[in-house]
């Protein structure tokens, strides 16, 4: 992969140590492989095709036109560099000046540049103190941990509550976040989201799911919200929709339009089909159930029919009682089955409100085990467990 600039000086060092090489020989030795090699170097960071790795955006290019002196390489990150990373730049520059270059004999080949430094040259205390030799950042990595301490953007995101460990699984998202500047881009989006009504504490969860919102244009986002408002969704509605489905704001207006129309039609057609034909519910009953538990719409059709089959046929609960308690469709089927079998075994499976010892369906599914055993079944938890082990 991309060679780090530290490997280059080592290569040069090894060449240098071979003694008794004249300047001309060295030059000839370097020119042919080195020139092509440099091309490779400068081409590599752009061409990197490995999707698994983050690219810090190194561009290695020559500072001086003269090939002999070009051993002085300067590293610089990509154009979109954080202001907070300005402290890194001088350190990198200092480092590069530490890179040992050729012997002075080479540099005397008709140059007007300043003779390069050598590490054995004595320097003053002041200058020595100024050398910052932190270990360099890795040019690519599979985790954001290596960069979080050097990027103000990432730090502010973590403090907001964004889960970076989930975002780093998507390399293009992580690259995007690394390159963004907090002040310019992210702040705007955050203010926009706060305007929509999303609380500070919920921002973290939202951004963890929808990190792509940063690549959306702010104008587009505003248009979409205006469109939703024009469809007479109240502000609170929009806030809730955005919270539950974070990708909503990424859709273009046409797509939003399509989805709304699709949902409306779906509500009428498919639901009616499932509930009326197969389960025998009437239309207003369906609507009543859906307004109470909208999750039913998204539930798997097979699970829904299994649950209904059990509740209606085995527990023999008529339709109108199920309508009053649609939560049974939300609960896990095995839970309903276990509890019903226990009640049947005890002889307390009475679901008709008219008769005595009535047990309401919603309490059957929602109540935790201890309360179920004590209040509804009038038995101990050990008995329930023993019964479960006989199933």
């Amino acid at each position: 992969m991309a060679l780090s600039a530290q490997q280059i000086p080592r290569w040069f060092n090894s060449i240098k140590r071979s003694s008794l090489i004249t300047a001309a020989q060295l030059r000839n030795h370097f020119q042919r492989p080195g020139q092509t090699w440099l091309h490779g170097l400068s081409a590599q960071p752009q061409v990197s095709s490995d999707n698994c790795f983050l690219q810090w955006g190194f561009k290695i290019y020559r500072t001086s036109s003269k090939w002999n002196n070009s051993s002085q390489f300067t590293k610089s990150s990509g154009q979109e560099i954080n202001s907070a990373q300005s402290t890194m730049l001088p350190s990198m520059n200092e480092q590069s000046q530490e890179i040992p270059t050729f012997d002075s004999e080479l540099s005397l080949e008709g140059l007007d540049d300043v003779p390069p430094f050598s590490p054995l040259q004595p320097i003053s205390e002041q200058e020595a103190v100024r050398i910052i030799a932190d270990p360099p950042l890795p040019p690519d990595s599979f985790t954001l941990r290596d960069y979080v301490d050097h990027s103000e953007t990432l730090q502010k995101l973590v403090l907001l509550g964004v889960d970076l460990s989930k975002i780093e699984k998507h390399p293009e998202a992580a690259n995007l976040l690394l390159r963004l500047d907090f002040e310019k881009d992210i702040n705007q989006v955050l203010l926009f989201l706060k305007d929509l009504g999303i609380e500070d504490s919920q921002l973290g969860a939202f951004l963890t799911k929808n990190y792509a919102i940063f690549s959306e244009d702010l104008e587009n986002l505003k248009t979409r919200v205006a469109y939703l408002q024009s469809k007479s969704f109240s502000k609170a509605d929009i806030a809730q929709m955005v919270r539950k489905a974070p990708f909503l704001l990424n859709f273009s207006v046409e797509r939003l339009d399509n989805r709304l129309g699709f949902f409306q039609k779906e509500l009428e057609l498919s639901v009616k089909k499932v509930y009326r034909l197969e389960l025998g519910f009437k239309r207003n009953e369906i609507q009543h159930m859906i307004t109470k538990t909208p999750k039913m719409l998204t539930a798997n059709k097979r699970k829904l029919t299994e649950t209904f089959d059990f509740v209606h046929n085995v527990m023999s609960i008529p339709h109108h009682i199920i309508v009053r308690f649609p939560q049974v469709f939300n609960a896990r089927l095995f839970k309903v089955q276990e509890r019903h079998s226990f009640l049947a075994y005890l002889g307390r499976a009475q679901y008709d409100p008219a008769k005595a010892n009535y047990i309401s369906l919603d309490k059957l599914v929602s109540v935790p085990d201890e309360i179920f055993c004590e209040d509804l079944a009038k038995a101990s938890v050990q008995d329930f467990e023993k019964f479960l082990k006989t199933l």
């Binding site: 100024r130 932190d134 730090q155 509550g161």
Partner: protein, 330 residues
């Protein structure tokens, strides 16, 4: 939590598999619950790292800069950056149960997985309660299979059923001795065979060491089967064959494992108990018993059985009182 929690998470424990759940789903659910428990520690205190920063020297007027070591907060080990500490656990499953069957299912975590192999090599017997239904025959011997035949069963009595079961037990008794590759000419081997303590210690087809009827109310009947090297499908086929022997037909409505080696129903954890603490406690409670039983079996060695002194018991589980009182004559 964390490292301390994982350290106590090595060993065998038994769960109760409810009917309708695939054993793989059970294993995955248990793994998820354990990971949830392990990752649920309190967040660590914010860490710091030492950096050498340039700053003015104290007590000097001119702008002399020097490096001072300062502690700077770092976010490298923040939980939101690092992610959850535990992302997977190695959990193995012992003798499997198919989706419709229920009962004791032994799982091994971490180092306990090698104990699963030891348990398998110990060739211990397992107890099942099998519920059968007279009068029907289906293609897969289950109650909800495709119906093949319907018959009457009025002629079936308890005595006939017991006689059939005794015949089955007798024939399997012989097979036990044959497959154990034991030389019956020695005195000890003969004594053990008489007591019924011989069993094969290598691969063999399903062998029934004990079978009896617990409950008979036609058309339903309940059998208790003690067997080894079985699959649940073979147990259902057994019910079908019993029906055929009785000159009628039978299907199996439920198979339930009540004991797997030395893990019984009491040790089995229910669905509500599949969390970190219960499983750690179960492992700890079972550990001494597991070690003792497996060590006894290891002394046996692979392949053919070695003969031991009179103090040795062939079946390493608690000898079921039913088995001792059964005789080949029924």
């Amino acid at each position: 939590m964390g490292a301390a929690g994982v350290a106590r998470l090595h060993g065998l424990f038994a769960t109760y598999k409810p009917p309708g759940l695939h054993w793989k789903h059970l294993r995955d659910t248990v793994e998820l619950q354990l990971l949830k428990g392990l990752n649920a520690g309190k967040p660590p205190a914010p860490e710091q790292r030492v950096r050498f920063l340039l700053g003015p020297v104290e007590g000097s007027e001119d702008k002399e800069l020097t490096l001072t070591a300062t502690s700077v907060p770092t976010l490298t080990n923040h939980p939101l950056v690092r992610g959850p500490a535990f992302t997977s656990l190695k959990i193995g499953v012992g003798h499997r149960l198919d989706a419709q069957a229920s009962g004791v299912l032994v799982l091994g975590v971490g180092q306990g997985r090698s104990l699963l192999t030891d348990m398998y090599n110990a060739h211990l017997t397992k107890d099942y309660t099998v519920r059968g239904l007279l009068g029907k025959a289906t293609d897969d011997f289950r109650e909800d299979g495709r119906l093949v035949e319907k018959t009457t069963y009025d002629h079936v009595t308890r005595e006939k059923l017991d006689r059939i079961l005794a015949v089955i037990q007798g024939s399997h008794q012989k097979a036990l001795v044959t497959y154990s590759n034991l030389d019956l000419q020695t005195q000890e081997a003969y004594e053990m065979a008489v007591k019924g303590l011989i069993r094969p210690m290598n691969k063999s087809p399903m062998l029934i060491t004990g079978i009896r009827c617990l409950h008979f109310v036609p058309p339903e009947f309940l059998l208790e089967v003690q067997c080894m090297h079985e699959t649940q499908k073979q147990l259902r086929r057994l019910v079908h064959e019993i029906g055929l022997e009785l000159k009628t037909t039978a299907v199996c409505s439920h198979v339930r494992r009540t004991r797997d080696g030395f893990f019984t129903l009491e040790d089995a954890l229910l669905r509500t108990q599949w969390d970190l603490h219960s499983i750690q406690d179960a492992i700890q409670v079972a550990a001494p018993r597991v070690a003792a039983e497996l060590e006894k079996n290891l002394r046996l060695g692979p392949g053919t059985q070695q003969l031991h002194g009179p103090g040795w018991h062939g079946d390493n589980e608690r000898p079921s009182p039913a088995l001792e009182s059964w005789t080949a004559g029924g």
